[in-house]
Amino acid sequence: MAKPTSLKLHTKQNIVGWAFVIPASILIFTFFFYPIGKAFLLSFQTGFGANAQYAGLVNYKRLLSDNTFKTSLVNVLTFLVLQVPVMLLLALALAYTLNDHKLKFRALFRTALFLPCATSLVSYSIVFRSLFALDGFMNALLLNLNVIQSPINWLANPWTAKLVIMLALTWRWTGYNMIFFLSALQNIDRSIFEAAIIDGANGFNRFFKITIPMLKPIILLTAIMSTNGTLQLFDETVNITNGGPTNATLSISQYIYRLSFQYSPRFPYAAAMSFVVFVLVGILSAMQMRVGDKR
């Protein structure tokens, strides 16, 4: 008697369970997996709509000789190599300094450092664009302090434009990464630090010999997130420099956007490029996980 009812009950619960998870699953398949498959198929075509034709690797071959694509790839990798490590180190140093219970105004410092996270990417980009305009605040400040004799055209020079993008990214995301480090540091047993102090380790040694090794998983996580974000950079380069001067800050996402939605749309070629971004994100994340495992 008991068995059939419990079996029935179990089946009923199983059905309810599937009913709970199916709507979300359908949505994810429709709006993530189907489009990525579609982008993959599209990347082997030329033409569009009724004119679509299978064209093999034509789009991928064209990528290899596309100088604008190479420029955008180099730009993004430059940001990745120069900005991400500086930002993560800064975030780590700030978290380490903040993680001191005797520190006064701790909550105030944390709030201030974390505040940039509350701004949208477009908003802060416009603020930075204005600060670094030729007739903007930075030049007025530096002229008044006699640091420079004539205004610097920050956004019109390839390297200073890159620098402004990197400064902006650092401003927006250092506090964000700091929050991860801070929450991880709070989980480290304080007796380890106390023992190290008794053993005579100075602050510098404690930071490099204890804090960094113990935070390795979080450092890895933030590195992967930053890599991911930098490879998909869009809002900042569009709104601070619009990719200029002459593509010196053009990101891959912005180039894909231009190919797809400005001038005459070239969806298949843009799809090939976007698929490369997908693979690149995967490879770089896998590499970072490998390196992290070895150390």
């Binding site: 199983n14 979300a24 990525i36 204005s130 991860f180 976007s274 698929f275």
Partner: protein, 270 residues
């Protein structure tokens, strides 16, 4: 002892400089919103009397109330829809888990690795085919279900006492009833965290609306801001006022709910 003092001094100096650099651009933005463009460019750092003039000029150039409403409506609908769909799914994946559902969950999590740039063209084509361009539905659809939110709710369901579910079943509550009356009230903090992340993401979203919001009346705040810098001559007072208006709601959420905000950010990285 002096070495200790120097160390403490350097610590505070480091934090003070970093905090100042963090806050200054926003402070400058708010101050500049009250100044004329000429004063902004002259480097004026005191609040001025041009707030009303800037506001009048701004309303002539852009329909700010419409854009704010669009941003709010899109973000709010997106938040409500994802919270319902993802919390139900997260709960289902945990409470009724079996091998099939565990596998499905693992597949869904893979969606988090897909960069938006890689799927935006097919998504745009889909939305176009369904005649949904310039609609809230189009804005919301791709972000209703996300691997991350499902994961977040599944994790929180893990700490939900199973005895409570069994007791409720004996009391004759339906499975959906248990979810609504037992799980939802207990998990308020998870909902708060999820709501903040989703709302902020919707409010700040730029690339997706840039593609789909082709009708001028459907433009959200980030799009309007981005349009304001397109002209030849920039009125910095007006521009900073527009930016200030757009960040005010998120800064308010941030200052009021900083703890949930930080938890949301940490949770969003799984």
């Amino acid at each position: 002892m002096t070495r200790y003092k120097i160390g403490t001094f350097l610590k505070y100096l480091f934090l003070t400089i970093a905090a100042f650099v963090s806050v200054f651009p926003l402070l400058w933005m708010f101050i500049s919103a009250t100044n004329s463009s000429i004063d902004v460019l002259g480097g004026r750092l005191l609040p001025g009397s041009h707030l009303v003039t800037n506001f009048q000029n701004l309303t002539e150039r852009a329909n700010i109330p419409q854009a704010m409403w669009n941003s709010f409506r899109n973000a709010a609908v997106s938040t409500i829809a994802s919270l319902i769909v993802c919390s139900v799914a997260g709960y289902g994946f945990e409470i009724y888990h079996d091998r099939g559902k565990d596998l499905l969950m693992r597949i869904l999590l893979l969606s988090m690795m897909i960069p938006f740039a890689a799927i935006m063209i097919p998504l745009f084509m889909m939305v176009g085919n369904f005649n949904l361009l310039s609609t809230t539905t189009a804005f919301v659809l791709p972000s209703v279900a996300t691997g991350f939110l499902i994961f977040l709710f599944r994790q929180s369901a893990r700490y939900f006492p199973y005895e409570l579910i069994e007791a409720s079943r004996l009391d004759g509550l339906s499975e959906l009833g248990i979810f609504i009356r037992m799980y939802v009230p207990v998990m308020r903090s998870t909902y708060a965290t999820a709501a903040i992340i989703t709302f902020m993401a919707g409010w700040n979203s730029y690339l997706w609306p840039l593609i789909i919001m082709q009708n001028a009346d459907s433009r959200t705040m980030p799009l309007v801001l981005s349009n304001l810098i397109a002209g030849y001559v920039t009125d910095y007072g007006l521009l900073m006022l527009a930016v200030s208006i757009s960040v005010l709601p998120t800064i308010a959420i941030f200052l009021l709910l900083q703890k949930s905000f930080a938890e949301g950010i940490i949770a969003s990285a799984r």
